[in-house]
Amino acid sequence: MLSGLFQYEFLQNAFLTGIIIGALAPLLGVFVVVRRMSLIADALSHVTLAGIAFSLLLEKTFIVVAGVSPLYMGMLFSVIGSLFIERLRNVYKHYQELAIPIILSGGIGLGVIFISLADGFNTDLYGYLFGSVSAVSSVDLWVIAGISLAVVITVISLYKELFLLSFDEEHAKASGIPARLIHFIFIIMVALVIAASMRIVGILLVSSLMTLPVAASIRIAKGFKQTIAYSIIFGEISVIGGLFFSYFLDLAPGGTIVVIAVIILILSILAKNVKTRLA
């Protein structure tokens, strides 16, 4: 594979994108998980699917837009979906989780309509659903790198505020920090990272990259910063290992990445149990 990595641009793109999202998805995932918003990632990934299907339909109908990456439409839909979720969470204050099935089924519904209008499934769509190493173009890579840089800078700059908002939302509001604005920025970041990650892991599995490494990390980490550090390490092991095995064994990369993340999770649970027994 190493020789292939130097030889084929698509492999380089896939690997570099994988390394970026292997850190980025768990980084935001930590905040998503501790705020008990794990399912929002699922809802947004399905909205992203609608965006991608819409883009593929446009491509088929209007030749002019052919060649424009469906990634952008996916991002646009994801961001719009995140805004809808926020709106719904405010409308149903006592049933905030209702926003998730509404957006999730809405996304799938729209996606299926667009797919049927575009005359059904094709290989491209399959790649978006389950991830693909051959699908990342250089332009995609640059867009994803740009988004990642922006997200990392934002998370570092607003770390204190994001921590407080995650730990104790009521206290964050009472202490006078602009909690709503920060939450808004956060949800937009989640939407962008989901859209950026789906090329490699696929829409159906993208939420797992945000949650599984974090679930493993929470078991063994001390403190919040360590939780972030372990999550990123586990994310990277899953993505790099997953891409490696999927290339050699000809497996779907998304599935392989997720299976490795699940193995890490099981090991972390076992490690914690052993540690507790020894203590």
């Binding site: 501790v34 204190k160 206290h171 006078g176 403190g223 919040f224």
Partner: protein
């Protein structure tokens, strides 16, 4: 006897609030002088939480006015002068992966300001706040590993770390085992008398602390009583019943 000053930290004038059609607070007027330790007492649903939310700026007054540190709440900006300790059970996820140090340093978020980081002077402040509540030895432990009473001390430290002049506590002993409740009140007493922090303690059980507070206010939609702690102790059962709406007796806890 501990004498609060004449400077008013909180001044509430003719405050009313309703959710949809239900009146929760009606014509409430009260004042809390600097250095006071006020217990705000009332049964469930008496409007205590609503009054707190109004004082913390989480709700806007519909009628009447609130002044904090001599300034109308609508133009009040110095929120770092106010520390808040909420009911732990309601607002805290005990599985949250944060150390005691991280939790207390989050109390400096507003003071440090946007786009700035924790510096060594802030770290010292965090340790000092932990020392003042006797929890400095637990700085590197995860918050979820501590007992209810210890966690609540950590939340006090978080509120103290920004050097507040006023500390508002919303039923802080919920979830703290009975054995540690009196220790907890001793800590509040120390903060009020030694560190000169004005305290507003919301509680439904005023018995154990009437000897520590300087003032008591009884709320049940209306403010039924607002005076110093001695006057409160002199209230008879009949008067207390009219406040609470059912038969009550003031029980002195001897801890």
């Amino acid at each position: 006897m501990h004498e609060p000053s004449n400077r008013m930290i909180i001044k509430v004038d003719n405050l009313s609030y309703k959710y949809e059609k239900e009146n929760v607070l009606e014509h409430v007027s009260m004042a809390v002088p600097a250095g006071a330790f006020l217990a705000l007492v009332g049964p469930n649903g008496s409007g205590k939480s609503t009054l707190l939310k109004l004082l913390l700026g989480l709700l806007r007054p519909q009628q009447g006015t609130i002044e904090l540190f001599g300034r109308d709440i609508r133009s009040f900006k110095a929120w770092d002068k106010i520390g808040f300790v909420s009911q732990k059970a309601n607002s805290f996820n005990s599985g949250f992966p944060a150390t005691v140090f991280e939790v207390v340093s989050s109390g400096l978020t507003k003071k440090i300001g946007l786009f700035k980081f924790l510096r060594s002077e802030h770290r010292k402040k965090v340790m000092k706040a932990l020392e003042s509540v006797g929890m400095d030895a637990f700085a590197t432990r995860n918050i979820g590993e501590l007992s209810g009473g210890q966690q609540q001390r950590v939340f006090i430290a978080r509120a103290l770390v920004s050097d507040p002049e006023l500390l508002i506590l919303d039923e802080p002993t919920v979830g703290v085992d009975a054995q540690h409740v009196s220790q907890f009140y001793d800590l509040l007493y120390m903060l009020n008398r030694k560190l000169k922090i004005t305290l507003l303690l919301v509680t439904h059980d005023v018995g154990p602390i009437t000897d520590k507070t300087t003032h008591v206010a009884c709320l049940n939609k209306f403010l039924h009583f607002h005076g110093n702690a001695e006057e409160y102790r002199e209230l008879d059962d009949k008067e207390l019943s009219s406040i609470y709406g059912h038969g009550v007796q003031l029980i002195s806890h001897n801890h």
